[in-house]
Subunit: 348 residues, 2 copies
Amino acid sequence: MSDYYSEETHGPHEFFELGDVELESGITLPNARIAYKTHGSLNEGRDNAILFPHMWSGTPKAMEIFIGQGRPLDPSRYFIILPGQFANGFSSSPSNTPPPFDGGAFPNVTIGDDVRAQHRLVSERYRIERLELVLGWSMGAEQTYEWAVRFPDMVKRALPFAGTAKTTPHDYLFVRAHEDALKSDPAWNDGFYRDSSDVHVGLRRHAQIWSVMGLCPEFYSAEAWRGVGFTSVEDFVKRFWEAYFLPMDPNNLIWMGWKWRHGDVSRHTGGDLAAALGRITARTYVVPFAHDMFFPPGDCEAEQRLIPNSTFRIVDSLWAHFAMFCMTASDREQIDACIGDLLKEEVT
Amino acid sequence: MSDYYSEETHGPHEFFELGDVELESGITLPNARIAYKTHGSLNEGRDNAILFPHMWSGTPKAMEIFIGQGRPLDPSRYFIILPGQFANGFSSSPSNTPPPFDGGAFPNVTIGDDVRAQHRLVSERYRIERLELVLGWSMGAEQTYEWAVRFPDMVKRALPFAGTAKTTPHDYLFVRAHEDALKSDPAWNDGFYRDSSDVHVGLRRHAQIWSVMGLCPEFYSAEAWRGVGFTSVEDFVKRFWEAYFLPMDPNNLIWMGWKWRHGDVSRHTGGDLAAALGRITARTYVVPFAHDMFFPPGDCEAEQRLIPNSTFRIVDSLWAHFAMFCMTASDREQIDACIGDLLKEEVT
């Protein structure tokens, strides 16, 4: 394995040992754990906690760019937990689990499995009864919805950015195509390879598909890559997309992808999405990103209409789904404004 | 090779022998030919001809669904030429050319090469000086633009459906990803395989990417596949997309794809797209399809503004880019209306 999933690269993590966990699939994962990070301190009332799960392909580190003195996620005021998820390379994952669940034999994991693990972290380790805010981007938004539907009493405010409560069929096909790009490399070998870099052709192919679907036509027409230091489309494909994915573990991406495309809060209500979203009591902002090809604003708005105490806002950016990378000041400011405005709202 | 590229499957063709053709690439293709079909009769004045080139992956047969008594493309009134293009499997193609240009060694061909060949067919075989209408869909629209820019005096009316005069960078990446899905199959073997069905894994992978990009999120959310006889998303992916592509020749698709992504009328004017489109004298309708992920209406409208005597119209369909398949009566009626309205306009 590469040294990508190391504290040297991603900073220190804490670990919460879950013991033997029965997954939604019916498989029991022995000695399961989730890695996480925290910022700030939990107050005596245990009522200043914010939970911010990360996106597909990410680790808790990815969300740290939103934390800072004087920003909405201010660690001098809030206790901010950045929980990991299964298959992210630090928590129990294809890349770090011993046989019989190593590599391509890792069991399928779900958003529900992640949220149950995060719930134990929050409840057992920190004895927190209610979270001031749960927020997340993309698959982190899926986890936010799962939290708000599964544990409505524990979620005071919810802020899903650029994600859906139920994966749409188009998004499902999209994600499966990404996975298949990785699997198309014969070196993937059903998930049993010696080193993730052996699968570099699959990782590059996968990066190329992301270069198409991860952004939007307007981004490329405006040559928005120029503003952030790239010199041509090909340069951007290589130095942004390939450089991002090449160090990662193909199995971790595939198993997180399976989780993404099977996200669906309506399994709590026998397939009734309106009933599931109707359970949410959190004050909720639903915030898609303009031009997002995975989670078009229309799909997010259709769900927002089913959430009782919710508001719809759009972050406008040529970076489409990747506005959350905050490659421009405008993106960071719009996202911070959503977080800040929601935290300012009085919620009982 | 499969028997897909046969007259049994696609009906009778005529052939125009081009002799040795120097391609835009600088390679000379010996004994080149284009296949074509015609409907109706050329009148004595030779002024009732319509040229209707076909799309990527298609053959002249694909456009016959628009021809009929009482419809705008009425063969009792017009002489309708359905010209082929290089790499379509009937005209000179990777699948039918002898060494040294067989299979993976076929030279790159361009929209300009196609249009010069079509021009010789129209001028030399039929001695037509002016076409009543040139129309086409997708890569046929690229050819329509090339005609209108290259031979403005010969094109009285132009009707590009769901295509652009210059391929956008996003569209370029899209098409290259399709090609790479085919090439990812080790059986493709740099384009040297015994039978196209040996590359069925690549063809299926390619079909899957088309299932994502060829339509749109709204199509799948509305389950529009139900209206045309499919029973689930997977059923649609198999029986629509895989069934469409599996009989085709991977090299033919790849070489047509190269042509698609390099389409650019501005090479006639040193890269100045406004100058190129400003050359068009034809009365022109620019007609994108709503939700089209290859050729978003905004991209088409930006070009339309550069065409002197042009009108912008949108065909509204959940079938997105594939509205041209006329899977619904509404799609066929909207497209027929565009053709009919343009033909009714008095043009000097």
